[in-house]
């Protein structure tokens, strides 16, 4: 009888109870194996699972874990030679006083701080816009998603035409009586790259939010309608609450993508851009060129730590914000 109720629970996925029931099946399965067969069979089963995991896990070990241990070693010693001396956090200290690193970190952080919230908010706006009943909805969806498929290298030419000192935007500005701006060689450069970033990433984020909106229980919204809730209140009190896991994910995703902005900058402005565009990857590239393993390793570790801390922080916020919603 008990197993029967469990099976019915399994039939409607998506609730918290199912997760428990599912892991329960796993546990039951394991118990069954344990009781029916002996130790030998269990070992065999374990080995089989290992066989399947092996190719991927060995690769990950070889290309990420083991070398990362070497990276840690480099970061803590004074040279990559065999007779390296342990120097503790000296390399980190040196890195922290390095002007190029400081500039790169500052630029990357300001860029992320501006681009990530913008891309989250605008993506929500786009998703809400496409949620309303308008004609040609799926066409618009494809249009918004299309930049994601276009390689950055292909459209930087147009970007240069738009934002050059003699470019279209300045023509427009001068026509309306403004003063021409040297977009790529001034503090506006970050703005140009933010625009490119948004252009590229909004579609993907929008799709994520659309599926998030789709998962909100319709009854809840209808109930709110009956009670006479305004659109604004519905958005704030219901939709956003249900979207909070999506917001978390999109924020993390945008954060990762904002670290990849080097690609756009490199293709737009080359290896030596205006200093406002000097990103962490530029710094890394220079270090690769001079084969400065110590600085490279220290920088990689700092970034990994910063990333982990940021993500943990975001998870905590999400837990607090969406705690009363069963997602």
């Amino acid at each position: 009888m008990l197993s029967k109720t469990k099976r019915t629970e399994k039939a409607n996925p998506g609730t918290e109870r199912v997760k428990k029931a599912r892991s329960g099946t796993g546990r039951r399965e394991r118990e069954r194996i344990r009781s029916k067969t002996g130790r030998k069979e269990r070992v065999k089963d374990f080995l089989r699972s290992l066989c399947f995991l092996c190719p991927s896990f060995l690769g990950v070990c070889l290309f990420f874990i083991v070398p990362f241990a070497v990276v840690v070693k480099y970061a803590l010693t004074d040279s990559s030679a065999a007779d390296a001396v342990f120097v503790g956090i000296d390399n980190f200290k040196k890195l922290m006083t390095n002007a190029a690193f400081k500039l790169a970190a500052k630029n990357t952080l300001t860029f992320s701080a501006a681009a990530v919230p913008l891309s989250v908010i605008l993506a929500i706006v786009l998703a809400l816009m496409l949620e309303s009943r308008i004609p040609m909805k799926s066409a618009f969806r494809s249009f918004f998603l299309s930049p994601m498929m276009v390689p950055v290298a292909s459209i930087v030419l147009i970007w240069q035409v738009l934002f050059n000192f003699n470019g279209s935007f300045n023509v427009l500005i001068e026509a309306t009586g403004g003063k021409a701006i040297d977009w790529l060689n001034s503090d506006y450069a970050q703005l140009v790259v933010i625009l490119l970033f948004l252009w590229k990433n909004l579609g993907y984020n929008m799709i994520l939010f659309m599926s998030g909106l789709h998962n909100i229980p319709k009854e809840l919204l209808e109930y709110a309608d009956v009670e006479g809730a305004s659109e604004w209140y519905k958005f704030w009190a219901i939709k956003l609450r249900y979207l909070s896991p999506t917001v978390l994910f999109v924020t993390i995703l945008s954060l990762i993508n904002s670290f990849k902005i080097f690609r756009e900058v490199y293709l737009l402005a080359g290896n030596y851009p205006y200093q406002g565009l000097y990103t962490l990857q530029h710094f890394m590239n220079n270090m690769f060129n001079s084969l400065d393993y110590q600085k490279l390793s220290a920088a990689a570790i700092i970034m990994a730590v910063v990333m982990i801390v940021l993500i943990a922080f975001l998870f905590m916020i999400e837990n607090w914000f969406g705690k009363d919603v069963e997602g």
Binding site: P55, S56, G59, V60, I155, Q160, Q281
Partner: protein
């Protein structure tokens, strides 16, 4: 009655505004792509007179002072394509470089990931969920963190400056493992159990039960991986010193001012495969993105 009518009017009005807003956004999103494509059909002289001053440092006499952004070329020509694809083979070489870097990564990564995803789906335990969690963390790391380890390994293995330095780490990228595992966990466990009772071995269960079930997932993951690597710039810059082996994405940025028209044409050629995939597999792509949507669970 009157009130209801006005409310309906209101609704139509707000829908109209929404539509207009969407249309404006759509134009903004499409413009760069469309401009690149249409401009690739311009003659070299037209391109030069329109955009010459953007790309050349010295302004010649024949170019106007400001750019003249045009959607439709005065005279449609495919001469740029002929030059790029037939007369000067280096562009085709670079295009081939992109292909030979991306295609193996897509296939190998999906193959390796599907096996690993099966393992994560079929067996669960503390160790394996720990490993899975580690994959998630690794997936979230930016390039700057993973490139250094990759470089060190490539150097140790002696594959630095060869294609393998990019393909090998690409094979084991954790992203598709993560996504496929999430798909596979949706397959009812009873199905796997039934296969086992019917006498399927693990490998058979995997190839005959699991893989056919997630054919759509494999497609969408392949598309996502393809976009990611077709678009790559960082890895080749660091791992491939040899300019001969650089993919077209890197090479496109090194065009000189005399060949702007050619660059536009090659940019169009470069976006062609991914646009084609987009048109063919948009529903898969959409599904893939949707399922990547939550890290939890």
């Amino acid at each position: 009655m009157k009130k209801r009518r006005s409310r309906r009017k209101n609704r139509y009005f707000s829908r109209g505004v929404m539509f207009l807003l969407c249309a404006v956004f759509a134009v903004l999103f499409l413009a760069p792509t469309v401009l690149t494509i249409t401009n690739s059909f311009m003659t070299e002289s037209e391109i030069n007179s329109n955009y010459g001053m953007v790309f050349s440092t010295t302004t010649g006499g024949y170019v106007s002072e400001h750019v003249n952004l045009k959607f439709i070329p005065d005279k449609v020509t495919v001469s740029q394509y002929i030059t790029g694809l037939v007369r000067s083979p280096e562009y085709l070489m670079k295009f081939w470089n992109s292909v030979i870097l991306t295609v193996p990564i897509v296939f190998l990564q999906v193959a390796v990931a599907s096996v690993a995803a099966y393992s994560f789906t079929r067996w669960r335990g503390k160790i394996r969920s720990g490993i899975f969690f580690f994959y998630v963390i690794l997936m979230l790391m930016p390039y700057q963190v993973t490139l250094v380890p990759n470089y060190l390994v490539a150097e140790r293995l002696g594959v630095l400056n060869t294609r393998w330095s990019i393909i090998l780490p690409g094979m084991f990228a954790p992203f598709s493992v993560f996504l496929l595992t999430k798909y596979m966990r949706r397959i009812p466990y009873a199905l796997i159990e039934a296969a086992k009772i019917d006498g399927c071995g693990e490998w058979q269960t995997f190839t005959r039960i699991c893989l056919p079930q997630c054919r759509a997932a494999l497609c969408s993951i392949a598309i996502l991986v393809f976009i990611d690597y077709w678009n790559m710039v960082e890895q080749p810059l660091v791992l491939l010193n040899d300019a001969e082996m650089q993919p077209l994405s890197v090479y496109l940025s090194t065009i000189n001012s005399g060949e702007i028209g050619l660059a536009f044409a090659m940019a169009t050629v470069y976006m062609f495969p991914s646009l084609l995939i987009f048109l063919a597999g948009e529903s898969y792509l959409m599904e893939g993105i949707t399922h990547s949507g939550s890290i939890k669970g």
